[in-house]
Amino acid sequence: MTENYETLEERKSSFTPLLLAIGIALFFLGLVINFPLAMGGLAIVAFTLLKMFKDNVEEKFADFKESVEERWPLEFLKKEKLGVWVFLMSEILIFGSLIVAYVYVRLLSGSWPVASQIHDVTIGMVNTIILLTSSLAMVYGFHSVRLGNIKGLRIGLLATLALGASFLIIKLGVEWPTYYRNGFTISSGLPGSTYFVLTGLHAAHVAAGLVAVGYLLIRAFNGGFSSSKHSAVENIGLYWHFVDIVWMFLFPLFYLL
């Protein structure tokens, strides 16, 4: 019992998760009722993320000791990695439910435009290959840092960043403006709404991933990683590959079928 109390005394708590939740809530509330409120929420989110990155750089929560009963039945997992997987579980449910809703609406609709009439399959395929290659680059970075090859880590992260940015530029800078010129918009009907909601949410995830990869890159150039210290690379890599997995379903659903 005494040991448990000592553990609690040693425990470092953080206000960042709560602040992040408040920031996100204000952002979405602001989008509906008041745009400046949304910007305020976004500022809180940005501040909180910076604080979280700073805490991580300083390893404020590293080597957190937990009793066995707190970790059961996943005691083989590190706390941070468990957090990432639980987060990915929630992401699977978010994207999964939206994809199911899309298929449901589409199957119940009397008519639905043929994919090739709206979408350019070649652009979709190129973007798919770009995203797959970015995953390979991320794997290369992770593989390199595990072997102590920091230069390889930097190259891998830089390539991931460039390829992820290319994906977004093609989507937001080439595809979407073309759709809007052709009258295919978020408010032009169910095909447009479902397309922009799902691919928009995915693009937002890619953008968030780019911020995270940018953070890894800064740390990689400041001696933040070594062969024995690279859990952040692994965890953000898990997220990046998840974003890739989601696109493996969005591409055929929107561009081929």
């Binding site: 083989f76 990915l88 797959l132 995953s135 290369y140 379903f249 591409f251 081929l256």
Partner: protein, 89 residues
């Protein structure tokens, strides 16, 4: 964990599978059959990425409980959607 050679091989396989999806769409045949084939290829790609790039294959097997539980949740949602369609709701 595998070496870079294997990771590059997996990437090549994923790119080939993507091209196969595009080619499958242009084949003659019922759209429902083609859709099934394409979605099976997509699911295969997703599983390969999870197993190798997210290295689930090399983790403790109990870790798979987490993503599988979420996928089961999505399957329940899909089943609910199919049931409501069957009931004409």
């Amino acid at each position: 964990m595998p070496g870079m050679k294997m990771y590059v091989g997996i990437w090549f396989g994923l790119v080939v599978a993507t091209i196969m999806e595009v080619v499958t769409r242009s084949l003659p045949g019922a759209i429902s059959v083609l859709a099934l084939i394409i979605l099976l290829i997509s699911s295969g790609k997703a599983i390969v990425i999870a197993m190798y790039y997210q290295h689930l294959r090399y983790e403790d097997r109990r870790l798979a409980i987490l993503p599988i539980a979420a996928v089961v949740g999505v399957i329940f949602l899909a089943a609910a959607a199919v049931m409501s369609m069957a009931m004409g709701m």
